[in-house]
């Protein structure tokens, strides 16, 4: 049952009988659960925790199609296939690697949501992520790296994460440190060889509360310095330091009677640009017959504006895009980037997946994203911007062995 001190998972999928099977066991859910538990114990099922190495390898493919619109006009379109390999090695190591290519094209406003004079762009991004984790009896150590390259932007990031579990594997503490280095060379050559460097730390704890409840609480803090401005936006001058903090909590709850799992998450974010943001996310995965499952999902987001963001109220003398009272030659932080304004956003979506024979699985996910200034929940300011909407579609295929 134990392999090098780690629970070995013999069969990760479909380990729990369906509702009908449960009722056939005897009709009494307590007895059924006890029998199920005994069966799992005898068959050597792993603990559900992050400290357990999966015994099965998997190859996952995903194709993302993203289309964004503003006032009925197409803005950014992205098509991004990605491939991920998860490979356990010798029962002690786990290799997780992913490759992504991202074909982005369209037009992006040079200030606020102005359509005329939007900068046309076309870019091809390649990204690779690789992590290697070594599992010990109650500890794991993971080293990760990620690389992303565009014709005007390169990024390299490294991370180390350590996780410590209690002997019963009901609680896991995680500590992580990371660093990234970005190089920016915009095509308009407004700056050359600019850099952005950041360091971040993480402290997290996962806890099994009951046989059907798992919670996680994570705090992160990052400090960055360098070029944070957007070189393609007009009058975009941002501070060269940005500190970011977030508190993140999530809770997974399984409902055995209905064969459904609820996943709920909340994040509070704040940074030194004076932006505060709340994110709430909820999903309900419902198992259907013949390996099908359906997951409706909801995401609610709200942020306040950056301290140096200015509303689309322009100077009477200089006109657009100059903010009211603009003074030439006086260096001041300013941005007319919609992403730094105060707004609220809503995502509604659904995911459908099907487990097939020989451990193949397919999935399809469709989401609609809407962003509106008037939807901000807790913050003031930021008016006069056009709504933004996007359709996000993902198709996936995976194989385990």
């Amino acid at each position: 049952m134990f392999e090098n001190g780690i629970f070995n998972m013999k069969s990760k999928v479909n380990v729990v009988p369906s509702n009908s099977a449960m009722s056939k066991i005897g009709g009494n859910s307590d007895i059924a659960t006890a029998l199920l538990g005994a069966a799992l114990l005898l068959s050597g099922i792993e603990s559900a925790h992050s400290q357990s190495i999966p015994s099965e390898a998997s190859l996952n493919f995903k194709y993302l199609n993203y289309e964004e619109k503003q006032q009925g006009l197409k803005r950014i379109t992205a098509k991004a296939p990605s491939l991920q390999l998860i490979l356990p090695i010798a029962g002690e190591w786990l290799l997780d690697g992913a490759l992504t290519s991202d074909d982005v094209s369209g037009a992006s406003p040079r200030y606020h949501t102005a359509i005329s004079g939007a900068s046309k762009m076309s870019d091809y991004r390649k990204a690779a992520d690789l992590s290697l984790t070594r599992y010990f009896e109650n500890t794991s150590l993971s080293i990760g790296s990620s690389y992303s390259s565009e014709h005007d932007y390169d990024s390299l990031a490294l991370s180390i994460t350590a996780a410590f579990s209690t002997p019963d594997k009901n609680r896991t503490w995680s500590f992580g440190v990371g660093a990234s280095s970005d190089t920016i060379n915009p095509t308009n050559k407004i700056v050359r060889d600019e850099h952005k460097k950041s360091k971040n730390i993480l402290l997290g704890v996962s806890q099994i509360l009951t046989p059907v409840d798992l919670v996680q609480f994570t705090v992160t803090h990052g400090r960055g310095e360098g070029y944070f401005s957007d070189p393609y936006k007009l009058l975009d001058e941002r501070p060269r330091h940005r500190n970011q903090s977030s508190v993140f909590a999530r809770w997974n709850h399984h409902l055995p009677e209905s064969g459904a799992t609820a996943r709920v998450a909340y994040r509070y974010y704040r940074d030194s640009f004076s932006i505060k943001a709340h994110t709430f996310q909820a999903e309900l995965e419902k198992e259907l017959v013949d390996g099908w499952s359906i997951t409706p999902l909801l995401r609610v987001y709200s942020q306040s504006a950056a301290g140096f963001y200015f509303d689309p109220v322009y100077d009477s003398q200089f006109g657009e895009p100059f903010p009211r009272g603009y003074q030439f030659g006086v260096k001041q932080f300013s941005s007319a980037d919609q992403r730094l304004s105060g707004f609220g956003a809503l995502t509604l979506g659904v995911s459908i997946s099907k487990k097939m024979q020989n451990q193949w699985a397919i999935d399809f996910r469709l989401e609609r994203y809407e962003q509106r200034t008037q939807w901000r929940l807790f913050h003031r300011g930021s008016t006069g911007l056009l709504p933004l909407s996007a359709t996000i579609m993902q198709i996936g295929l995976s194989k385990q062995w």
Partner: protein, 90 residues
Amino acid sequence: MRHGDSDSHQNKMSRIQRRLSMLIVIGIVCATTGCSLIRPVQVWDKGYLAKNSMKFDYDKLAMKNGEHIYTSKEAASGSSSVGGGGCGCN
């Protein structure tokens, strides 16, 4: 140090003290009641927890795609990992 700076420093210190007090209170409450209320779950009771749908990273590629989109359209980023790189996102 100017008068304004002194006020601001005192305000900052009192904010820090308030937060520290809150953390200490939470710690004491957790140590004396909350955490001890959690009854250890035995290994034979972890069948449902082993399901894919109960894992936090059940579909990493979809999560990563989502994070990339939201990071490029919103100001907030980061949550449960470290070492993520940036992009020249439009």
